[in-house]
Each structure stands twice: as structure tokens, then as C-alpha cells.
Symmetry: C2
Subunit: 192 residues, 2 copies
């Protein structure tokens, strides 16, 4: 129905505005008033749709997770072999770091924000788990890495995600991040 899509749009406008504000200035430096202004909406609308600030931020995390999990999986599906899919994932991170660095900013920011709230922590934990799950599903590790009790495919998936994430952070801290981005290519030989 019309009024429903209109409401969804209104609610979505708020999420989008929140996303923009947070990725530009960080969750700690953004007020609900900032988000309302950015969305072209009155302040009380935020509490109407999302109850309170934490509820709003939780929804931002959920939206972000949904969007990029789909995007990553869509990309992975294009690869024919495990090796090909690993390359796709690495290059996806590299491309994102180049053309959408604000995505990583908000990802890091929301992650550290989540450390201080049990409910948000669970959301963020699920996000990491789901991405690691994709890695495990589409990029199976065999070959050169010896098996032991420490490196099941699920463990390796998480460590690979950790490498991508931790290296990306360093890239974001770097004024000249291009070198750091390129160095992500090392993963291609590390996890093989």
C-alpha cells in the first residue's frame, strides 16, 4: 500500500542519513539532531521509528550487514574455482578501500561502538560470523596449509577475514593508503 511504502521510505531515509553522518564523522560525534537534519526529518521521528539512539544504530548495523553480505556473496558467485573466488574477495576489499573508504570507516566505527553494548556486540559478532561463513563456503582451504586442530576451514576463514580487516584498518590510518591496499595481494599467496 501507498502509505506503507511512504513510511518505509521515511524510515529508510533516516537510516541512510545515519549511515552518511556516522561514516563521515563517527558515531560518537553524531547526534540524533544531525541525523534528522541530514534526513530532512523532524527530530522526534527518530524515536518514533527506532525508539532510541541505540535502536537506531542497531538498525544501521542490520542494514549494513544485509547489504554487504549480499554484495559479497553475489561477487563470490561469479568465481568458478576456489582460487578465483579468493581473488575476487581480495580484490573486492581493495576496490572498496579505493572507491568507498567511508564504508570501512563506518565498519570499524560500529565495531568498536559494539564493544560497549551487549546487544550491539551480538549484531556485530553475527556480521563477522556471516562473512567468515561466506569465506568458508566459497573459498575452501586445502592444499599447502597443513591441517591440525587449529586450522579447520572455519578457523582459517575467520583468520583470513581478520587479515583483511586488520590490514584494511592500517590502510585507513595511512595518508598514502595505496601501498597498504596493494599489499592485500599478499593474501593470495598466504592462503593458498
Amino acid at each position: 500500500m501507498y502509505y506503507e511504502t511512504k513510511n518505509i521510505n521515511q524510515a529508510q531515509k533516516i537510516i541512510n542519513a545515519a549511515f552518511k553522518c556516522i561514516s563521515e564523522r563517527g558515531y560518537a560525534n553524531v547526534s540524533q539532531r544531525d541525523i534528522a537534519d541530514e534526513a530532512g526529518v523532524v527530530l522526534s521521528q527518530l524515536n518514533y521509528y527506532y525508539k532510541n539512539k541505540e535502536g537506531l544504530f542497531a538498525e544501521v548495523i542490520k542494514t549494513l550487514a544485509r547489504h554487504y553480505l549480499n554484495e559479497i556473496e553475489d561477487n563470490l558467485k561469479k568465481g568458478k574455482t576456489e582460487k578465483e573466488r579468493m581473488f575476487i574477495l581480495i580484490e573486492y576489499f581493495q576496490e572498496m578501500l579505493r572507491i568507498k573508504p567511508e564504508l570501512f570507516k563506518i565498519l570499524f566505527d560500529l565495531t568498536s561502538m559494539s564493544l560497549w553494548s551487549e546487544s550491539l556486540k551480538k549484531l556485530q559478532h553475527d556480521l563477522f560470523n556471516d562473512i567468515a561463513g561466506l569465506i568458508r563456503k566459497y573459498i575452501i582451504f586445502e592444499s599447502n596449509i597443513e591441517k591440525s586442530k587449529y586450522n579447520s576451514s572455519i578457523t582459517l576463514s575467520k583468520v583470513m577475514l581478520g587479515t583483511l580487516f586488520g590490514t584494511s584498518i592500517q590502510a585507513m590510518l595511512d595518508e598514502e593508503k595505496e601501498d597498504m591496499i596493494e599489499s592485500l595481494s599478499v593474501l593470495k599467496v598466504l592462503f593458498r
Copy 2:
């Protein structure tokens, strides 16, 4: 002189209190009043010694960097071979995650805080660079990893740090973090 050491103590008390507050609740949830109370000091003392909030946080980062760079290097010096030193570093991270998880909380927190301030970003970037420098100095990568333009020893050092960092974050998000901590042992075979 006496009054000087007293002042240093006063200033140091503030830093320590800031460290404690931030590692317990996150920089975004801590006010200067909280820190002053924790330090047993009057509010205006913070601005007297550190000018403003950012100045105080900058000093926290510097202190943290100094302390743990020394601690890490002291540990690395104990190892006799490159392989031994790599094990030491990995086990240092594992031990810290177990007995001092608040250290990682504040490390992640200050890192994401630094994304939104140019001056803090530089401090944090230096910290990462220095740790990577230690890795490069004490743990030289040769052996199984093929050389190319992408994996100089400095690049590998940063990626290894990224792996430690990114995997540690996932451990902090996990309610049962022990498995994640153990999986850091994979690094022993990954970077070899």
C-alpha cells in the same frame, strides 16, 4: 625536585584514570568529569595539564604506545631464532587477550577514535608502524613465501600485524573467545 615529581604524579594519575575509564566504557562514553573523579582530581586540572579533551586522549595514546612497544620488544629479545620470536609474539597476543582483554578494547577504541581526527590519526598510524617495525626487525620472513613486488618484509610485517589485530577483534566480539584466541596459532604456519 619534589614538586616536579608531585606534578608528574598528578599528571600521570590523570592519564591512568583516563586509561581505566576508556578501557572500561569506551572513549565516547567517558567524560572529563568521570576521569577527574577516577583520578581523585578536580575537573579543571585536566585542562590545565592537557589543554583539552583531545590533548588528553593524545597523551593516552602516546603513553599506551610507549608502554607496549617496550613490552613487546622486551619479549621479542628473549627469542633466539626468528621462528622462536614469531611464536613469542603470537603467544604474547594470546596471553594478553586472556588476561588483559581491556587492553584490546582500548586499543580498538582509540584506533577508531583516531579515524576522525587528523592529529590522533597520525599518532595511531605511528603506533601501528612501530609495531610492524618490530616485527620486521625481529621476525624476518623468508622461507616458503615467494617474493614478489607485493611482499617485501615490511609489507609482510604489516599484514601479519593486521592478522593479529583483525583476529583479536573477532575474539573480543565473541562471548566464548577462547577458540578465537587459540586460532591465532594458525599464524605460526601461515607466516613461515
